[in-house]
Amino acid sequence: MIEAVGLTKSYGKTLAVDNLSFSVPTGRVTGFLGPNGAGKSTTMRMILGLDTPTGGSALIDGKRYRDLHQPLRTVGALLDAKWVHPNRSARAHLQWLARSNKLPAKRVDEVLEIVGLTAVAGKRAGGFSLGMSQRLGIAAALLGDPQVLLFDEPVNGLDPEGILWIRKFMHRLAEEGRTVFVSSHLLSEMALTAQELVVIGRGKLISQSSTEDFVAQATENTVLVRGPQLGHLRTALGQAGASVRDEGAGLVVSGMDCADIGELAARTQTVLHELSPQRGSLEEAFMQLTGDSVEYHTEIADAPTPATLVPAGK
């Protein structure tokens, strides 16, 4: 169980994390979702005691990370797969980590086996592909057989096979009764991986709920109706209790499915050119929810002409 209470981090005038409170339940995969720059990594670093919060606190099973004795036995984390000395072998990297927390040397070979790196254990970590580095990072997180696991964007830049492997792996860890907290900026990925979602934008909590609820709430199913004369149908739809809004020459109906609308159209003798269900995408829903909180907006609509395309500078 991870608990954040009023967690705040500011860099000068910039608030990276703003009074963030949430809890990560035991035995489930909890997704930590937010656009790039929302403060996910900063929050994870604060949970691990690497960054000091400006305010509030993060507790793991009721303790601050810095008060944990041999923390690898309680919390495993993969924040950045590149945090490895490139000239050190994968095995040596795991060996020093294991030794620092008095973990048995054979545990190193066990975790290498679990992530499938046994064959390259003696190779320089600097020569690893991103997928291999991620596996090495996961091996490091598993060293102490911890009950709590944190992963920051573990599928970033991985190929589909790697993504699938990590997704299954997270589920396995949660099935073993562990607390898994995994961040991502991709809702579609989280919808498949996580059972619970903590959604943040600009450092603020947007929602905490089960993934199912979040997706159902966020994606509203509608039907697009087009035709030359929709006046009668519109009235009938309104009487039948559906809500209708105009979109271009057509209508967007919610609260009624295609079959019912079709029958209603027949009854009102309306000619239809189109009757199609619209499924809101997860990405759209996510954009809607976090739309106001994306830090670096890209204004596609009024893109500058090439002549004015100069670096804006941050």
């Binding site: 960054d51 000091t52 923390p71 984390a77 590149k82 945090w83 490895v84 072998s89 020093w96 620092s100």
Partner: protein
Amino acid sequence: MSVLNAERIKLLSTRSPWWCALLAIALPVGLTALIASQAQIQPGDAGNGVYITQMLSSLGRAVVLVMAALSITSEYRFGTIRSTFQVVPHRATALLAKTAVTAIPAMLIGAAVGFGSWAVFQAINSFPELALDTAQDWRAVAGQVLVFGITAVLALGVGMLIRQTAGAVAVLLVYALLVEGLIGLIPKIGDDIQHWLPFFAADRFLGLQDDIPQLRDLPLGPWGYLAYFAAVAAAVLAAGILSAQRRDA
């Protein structure tokens, strides 16, 4: 102990410390051999005693400065410092273990430089004054062990404060090789300042160039100067550890 062992694995599992150690020993010992082979020493000149064999030890010291600073700045460079603080959240413990694990090899390098330079000089150009007879003679040669160890501690402290390899190495080398020597050129007060600079203090402990007249009236004796050098290094290390505790990793 487990933290010390973890640091030992870190140190020995990459190759650069070995190259640094080799360079730190080969550079001063090799050049001392060259000097020994060319020096024409008249019987009366040899009042210098054994420290004539230690004149180039500062080259080895410069390499140790780089090696020690790298041991911490490379952790910042590759992000492994975060793994380090993640597995050992008590940062002072982690950093003190690193200091010990860096200072001990530095002391071994110091021994190799001190005795190596002396032996190679002795072998090539032997004369009676080179024998290790007095306490002063022993201090000049064996004293390198302490000087190199303290040098490593000082460099680690600077590395913790600056965090970046290029910056830390530049500061350390420019300071050790240029600044200390040039400060003496400041009229009137230059000498007085110089008498309190750390590497000047280290050289006074070893007794290098004690025959120069300007170096007769000094505020401290050899052991006093060693204690002073150690105190400066300890203060810089303490500042480095405090800074690491306060700042985000």
